[in-house]
């Protein structure tokens, strides 16, 4: 079983929150991506705030930073790096406003910063901001003297004034004496090597990460006055961070990340992005317009590969790591997931994200695990999977069949079409079974539902029970090889059931039927999501198609990256509107008609009105169905399964039909639009018949003065209502609806 730790490992795999290369390359960790975006929008004051928040001495830093970030900018591989430094200068010109910095309340601790170079000034800046009492001891020329020559008039002074505003005291000295380094009257000392050329201790070794020396109160940085400005500045900042922790008696390293030097695990998709060269300014500096155009070259580095591919993730916004965190936190705090049910129940568990993600993050694992926990806690919304589970039970209890071939008492092979193929294409199941018996006469038949819906619904105990039952029945049959036409059954039997199973397409590719016939147009081949990693079967399907001369139209998301039809994971049950969006988006990926080898995919995709072939239409042209045919309604599906079971029993085994249900004699009739309305409301014609049978039995109903009647019955958890006109024994159905709420009759 998965525990909380494993799940946190899963969560941590999503890298979307890692910094883009530019930020990782900035020693100050400036949010460069957000800055560039603001520049693109010409929101200069917003852009400036992003700089000012992260930079010591921003007016100086913007002008002198060597911009190591640009060395790492991903745009560099696709033209030229974004001119981040130039953009910062434009931002300074357009929006610099010196908001006085308000330091935190005084902490009563004193720090001395030796040196007037970038490192000491940065260290002083960060510490003063945090409320420490700071004194800078600079060389003769004064604080910042070495920087001054490279700055416009007044720029340095402006930043020094800000330091003064934070009560930093300045002092100069001609020669640095050892007394300055005595730590008696101060709590910590920073020694910058980027100012004084003499008087510094020769062997001042420090820890590269924390910048702490062997004497714990002493910190150092700023290699030499010639060193790069930003390295010195960064040393000062790192030392200030350590000093702050040191003075609070906190660990210098816990939860602290070393500088990234451009390294990040964020891995944005760069395929298909056009190369673009850097915009050259017409004058010395970018105009506001030019800057915005330059910023517009930024590719806005994010991962979000899975989100871009998955309609479900788009629907819920954010990205997997955030969802995972929200779900885990919910579990650990409330022992429930208030408000996240729909997120958890709507994922199709198709695992496209897992395939696409550079680190194989699986939203499917997160959602399935959450469902299992909710079911275990008895905390799953009753409606989410109700109908699919009802259908599963119906297929298992009412329309299953398991026999050796007629006239045989053993099976070498068992053909298992899958409940959906039986429900949508009974004639094709029939012809396929007879064909398979031609290959191997000891081929038995097994009509049933494999239990995948229970697994998807998170019902572990029930799934286990079903699997055990299946295994028992299979052993009773002499454990023949199961050959299935459904990739979901195949996956389920293989992974959860422990049965010997293969795909029927792997068999047919070895014994292709004579008449197999290509459609006369290229078709977009949509692989079922449960066959995502089933290389052998995908290959067989392609070989079959190729051998009969079927041309295929390109479809981006296919093979390993194929998409779900919205049935998987019971998405369509939990969130029908979303499932509809999923198929609309799917069929829009190709102008051509679709071709698939999963019955559910065929009917789901056809729901958009797109012509969709099932591979059996090509394999057995005599039984081909019109690709434009609408999907079977839920009632037709039940009817077809019954029909198939009956056909096998009567025609192959010479048995009598199974007994009718008492309500089967109820005679109903309805227009096409009502049939579709019922289908969309998950109301079965059987539900209508049962409601009317109850009405006949109790003789209780409502009647309108215009002759319409209404009857209702509570079947399971659901109350059904039927409105109809009666004509002799025929009920003309006008409307039907249902609800789960309970009506409390007076006196009850």
């Amino acid at each position: 079983m998965r525990n909380q730790n494993d799940l946190h490992d899963v969560e941590a795999r999503c890298t979307e929150e890692q910094p883009p290369a530019c930020s990782a390359g900035c020693p100050l960790g400036i949010d460069v991506r957000a800055f560039v975006l603001a520049m693109k929008e010409k929101s200069f004051s917003k852009a400036w705030k992003l700089l000012e928040r992260g930079m010591p001495l921003p007016g100086v830093t913007v002008r002198l930073c060597e911009a190591p970030c640009e060395n790492f900018c991903l745009r560099g591989e696709l033209g030229d790096a974004i001119a981040i430094s130039a953009l910062e200068k434009v931002c300074l010109r357009e929006a610099e406003h010196s908001t006085p910095i308000r330091p935190l309340p005084a902490r009563g601790k004193k720090v001395r910063c030796i040196g007037g170079g970038a490192s000491s000034l940065a260290c002083a800046w960060d510490l003063a901001k945090k409320g420490y009492s700071v004194e800078i001891v600079a060389s003769e020329g004064g604080a910042g003297a070495a920087l001054k020559a490279r700055l416009p008039e007044g720029a340095l002074e402006k930043e020094l004034e800000k330091l003064e505003g934070m009560n930093v005291r300045f002092r100069t000295t001609t020669s640095l004496t050892a007394e300055e380094r005595v730590t008696d009257e101060i709590d910590a000392l920073y020694i910058g090597h980027d100012d004084f050329t003499s008087g510094l201790p020769a062997d001042l070794a420090c820890d590269e990460f924390t910048r702490q020396c062997s004497t714990p109160q002493i910190f150092t940085g700023g290699a030499s006055p010639q060193d790069s400005f930003i390295t010195g500045l960064s040393d000062g900042r790192q030392a200030a961070l350590s000093i702050d922790r040191f003075l609070q008696n906190a660990s210098l390293t816990t939860g602290r990340f070393p500088l990234r030097h451009g390294q990040t695990t964020l891995s944005p998709e760069t395929e298909g992005i056009e190369h673009l060269p850097r915009i050259a300014p017409a004058g010395d500096m970018y105009t506001a317009e030019e800057a915005a155009a330059e910023a517009a070259r930024c590719i806005d580095c994010h991962c979000l590969r899975c989100v871009r591919a998955c309609v479900y993730l788009q629907e819920y916004g954010d990205f997997p790591r955030k969802h995972a965190r929200a779900i885990f936190n919910n579990f650990s705090i409330y022992q429930g997931v208030h408000g996240a049910y729909s997120l958890i129940d709507s994922c199709s568990l198709c695992r496209q994200c897992e395939e696409i993600c550079p680190t194989n993050f699986s939203m499917a694992d997160i959602c399935l695990d959450a469902r299992e926990r909710l079911v275990e806690a008895g905390d799953i919304p009753p409606n989410a999977h109700y109908f699919a589970l009802q259908e599963m039970h119906h297929a298992q209890e009412e329309t299953s069949l398991l026999r050796h071939a007629p006239g045989h008492s053993a099976s070498k092979v068992l053909f298992y079409p899958g409940c959906q193929l039986a429900a949508m294409r009974p004639q094709q199941v029939w012809i396929l079974y007879n064909y398979l018996r031609g290959i191997e006469e000891e081929t038995g038949i097994w009509l049933d539902c494999c239990g995948a819906p229970a697994h998807w619904a998170g019902r572990k105990a029930e799934t286990k029970e079903i699997n055990a039952r299946f295994r028992e029945r299979w052993l009773e049959m002499g454990s023949p090889k199961i050959v299935t036409a459904c990739s979901s059954c195949l996956e389920h039997f293989r992974e959860d059931g422990g049965l010997e199973v293969d795909s029927v397409w792997n068999l047919l590719v070895k014994f292709p039927p004579e008449g197999i016939h290509a459609a006369n147009i290229p078709l977009a081949l949509s692989d079922p999501c449960t066959a995502r990693w089933d290389e052998e079967t995908k290959e067989s399907v392609r070989t079959l198609l190729q051998d009969c001369g079927q041309q295929l139209a390109p479809l981006a998301a296919s093979g390993k990256t194929t998409e779900c039809c919205g049935f998987g994971g019971l998405m369509e049950n939990a969130n029908p509107q979303l499932a509809q969006k999923v198929i609309e988006a799917r069929v829009a990926q190709s102008e051509q008609p679709f071709l698939t080898w999963c019955a559910m995919c065929r009917d789901r995709l056809a729901k958009t009105g797109k012509p969709v072939y099932h591979i059996l239409d090509l394999i057995f042209p005599s039984q081909a169905r019109d690709p434009a045919e609408p999907p079977a309604t839920i009632s037709e599906r039940r009817y077809n399964r019954h029909l198939l079971q009956k056909k096998f029993l009567v025609e192959l085994y010479g048995e009598k039909e199974t007994a009718d249900k008492p309500w089967d004699s109820i005679n109903i009739d309805m227009e096409e639009d009502i049939r579709l309305l019922l289908d969309s409301r998950h109301i079965l014609e059987d539900d209508i018949r049962r409601t009317l049978a109850a009405r006949e039995e109790s003789d209780a109903f409502f009647v309108n003065s215009d002759g319409r009647e209404r009857a209702s019955a509570k079947l399971g958890d659901v109350t059904f209502w039927v409105e109809y006109r009666r004509e002799g024994y025929i009920y003309h159905i006008l409307r039907a609806w249902s609800h789960r709420m309970n009506l409390v009759k007076e006196g009850d």
Binding site: P381, N704, L743
Partner: protein, 69 residues
Amino acid sequence: MDLRFIPDDMNWICQPCGVPLEARKVEITYLNASFKVELPVCPKCGRIMVEEELATGRMFEVEQLLEDK
């Protein structure tokens, strides 16, 4: 939940009671919640009628709300 849900067309008669339905306050429940709602009810046998609009509209919304709580 609206406290009153009475259709414009109240020309409904309960069978076999043979009496017209009347607007009455009744209780409906779901999960752990309960509401008082005015619905068409047979004054004689107490059977309640639920309109299509109510079942597929407000009732459905409340069901979903309660399920996701």
